[in-house]
């Protein structure tokens, strides 16, 4: 367990924000932590949608249960937190 800084680029928001997380956090927990600083402050919630995490420049989301320690992030690396509509 260790504090790990990331940079959050949240879909619909206007600014990158410093996002302190823990190396044991899952990607879902990272997305929730990022949402805390954007949703309800400058971005509206999207009921029914979930938030996914990807590295900047990647089209692929990281697995929701993947831990920060296993994601290969560099300290302060920018991640994108993107809304995903439920699959029908």
């Amino acid at each position: 367990m260790a504090l790990f800084p990331l940079s959050s680029n949240f879909e619909g928001d206007f600014v990158l924000q410093l996002l302190p997380v823990d190396t044991e956090n899952t990607m879902d927990e990272v997305a929730a932590a990022a949402a805390h600083h954007s949703v309800g402050r400058r971005v509206r919630a999207r009921p029914g949608q979930i938030l996914r995490v990807r590295k900047q420049g990647s089209e692929d989301f990281l697995p929701r249960t993947m831990k920060v320690a296993d994601a290969g992030f560099k300290p302060t690396e920018t991640i994108e937190i993107v809304w995903e509509a439920p699959k029908h």
């Binding site: 800084p5 940079s7 680029n9 928001d13 206007f14 990158l16 402050r41 400058r42 900047q56 300290p75």
Partner: protein, 501 residues
């Protein structure tokens, strides 16, 4: 005694140069301070300043300028213009004085470097007057706000700002240190006078003077108009230096310096002047939008200046033109949202009428920045004020030292421009900021942005209180909404009407 007319002696005087015999030319003009362009003194003797003025003429005119500005101030001192000004306008002058006054004073040192170390005699003459100009600008822009310090502690930041680690001042200091305090004499002439002053002081001093006059602040209008007349003279120091470089095969080096300085100036002014013109100045007093001012005063003029000299438009010109509609809206939103961290009170500027104006000037505003403001407005109307404040820091560009932001909402295209250099990950707000770094990485690599300082444990405790203490923002100086959220009343009323219907 009969005096010679100016043109009987001016050309001899302005070309006077030394042929050093006791020291070498490189000792007289060390490369670090004079510039290492491989050009002999004789090449620099071809420097031909377009604005020719003698010292007696300078003193006479400056005396008249000072007398004019000070007499307007004296006449209006009891007028209560400041007290009766819209709070948004007060924020304009607070932000201006804090960001500009001491930088002007520092510019005297940059001008003095040209006086002593330029190999071009004409430049030394012009810069002698430029040095005195900048001393005047420092002094007058500290003296004028001083009368308001007893009424409003934030006005004290006219003097205090540059002694602090407040984030906007870190950004301004990084920029001015780069283009004027740590460059050789010729680079100063290109980066400070040609790239920055030719364009951007027009914006700040003429554009804002027009808004000031509209807002009834005639003291401020006459002050900054008076300053601009000096700027428009000494801004011409750089042009002939560029001509010498281009004529002697140094166009690429000259172009690069122009491209770096112009970009960096743009970023700073997108944060400083953009919000002032499009959000803080009361809507009825706005002469033009920030973008319109930029297009008229900077784009057209700078394009012409570059073309006349035989330089190219900066490689990023198309992107710069695109940013004119976008970048400053995010800077404004960021400053307002992190409002406790500035020494002025940002005006939100988002009533329905103001939003219509923004939409007209910047089509698509409501679908982008407006989407973020919609959430903020709901929180203000609901009294949910905690959600109108941040709980973390914005990521800051390692070149501009400003928040990394761009267009939100339906056109969300915010992006980091990272670079790993010697094991450290740097973040930039644009390809251009990263490019500036890449031109001379060692020049910039050691600097710590506000976020770097936070992560290094230099800000303690690691919360808002610690950050405000680090930035020397004392109670009474900490920024808040300029109108104490009164602008939200119209939204409250709209909601009541909707409920009733």
């Amino acid at each position: 005694m009969a005096l010679l007319t100016r043109m009987d002696w001016y050309d001899i005087a302005r070309k006077t140069n030394w042929s050093p015999t006791y020291v070498t030319e490189s000792e007289l003009f060390p490369a670090e301070l004079a510039g290492d362009y491989g050009l002999p003194q004789t090449a620099w003797e071809q420097y031909d300043e377009p604005y020719k003025q003698t010292y007696p003429e300078y003193v006479k005119i400056q005396r008249e300028k000072d007398a004019g500005a000070y007499s307007v101030k004296g006449a209006l001192e009891r007028s209560k213009i400041f007290e009766n000004s819209d709070p948004g306008w007060k924020s304009v002058i607070k932000a201006h004085y804090g960001a500009i006054s001491r930088a002007e004073y520092a510019a005297a040192s940059a001008e003095a470097r040209m006086v002593r170390f330029s190999k071009a005699p004409g430049m030394r003459n012009m810069a002698t007057m430029g040095t005195l100009d900048e001393v005047r600008h420092g002094q007058i822009q500290l003296y004028f706000p001083h009368e308001h310090v007893s009424k409003d502690r934030q006005m004290d930041w006219a003097f205090k700002a540059y002694d602090t680690n407040e984030w906007a001042i870190i950004a301004a200091r990084h920029f001015f240190d780069d283009i004027m305090m740590t460059r050789d004499a010729i680079s100063v002439s290109i980066m400070l006078t040609f790239s920055f002053e030719t364009g951007f002081t027009n914006m700040q001093f003429l554009g804002l003077a027009a808004d000031a006059a509209e807002a009834g602040d005639h003291t401020f209008a006459s002050l900054i108009s008076s300053i601009q007349t000096d700027e428009s003279r000494h801004a011409q120091i750089g042009g002939p230096a560029l001509q010498v470089l281009i004529q002697n095969g140094k166009k690429a080096e000259a172009q690069k310096k122009v491209d770096i300085a112009f970009w960096r100036a743009w970023k700073l002014f997108s944060a400083l002047t953009g919000p002032m013109m499009d959000y803080y100045t009361p809507i009825e007093h706005r002469k033009q939008s920030f973008k319109e001012f930029m297009e008229e005063w900077i784009v057209a003029q700078f394009e012409r200046a570059l073309t006349d000299l035989g330089l190219d438009l900066p490689w990023y010109w198309d992107h710069f033109l695109e940013e004119l509609s976008q970048q400053h809206h995010g800077m404004h939103l960021g400053i307002w949202f992190w409002r406790p961290t500035v020494w002025w009170n940002p005006a939100a500027g988002v009533t329905p009428v103001e939003r219509d104006w923004l939409e007209e000037k910047y089509p698509g505003w409501n679908d982008t920045w407006g989407q973020c403001w919609d959430v903020i407005i709901d929180n203000v109307v609901d009294g949910n004020m905690a959600m109108t404040y941040p709980e973390t820091l914005p990521m800051v560009c390692n070149m501009s030292n400003l928040p990394i932001n761009y267009t939100p909402g339906k056109q969300w295209n915010v992006k980091d421009f990272p670079l790993e250099y010697k094991g450290r990950l740097y973040h930039f707000g644009s390809e251009q900021d990263r490019w500036c770094f890449e031109q001379e990485p060692e020049r910039y690599a050691g600097h710590l942005s506000l976020v770097d300082r936070f992560l290094a444990g230099m800000i303690q405790p690691m919360d808002l209180g610690g950050a405000l203490n680090f930035m020397s923002l004392a109670p009474g100086e900490i920024g808040d909404d300029a109108h104490n959220y009164a602008w939200a009343d119209v939204y409250k009323a709209m909601r009541e009407i909707k409920k009733a219907s």
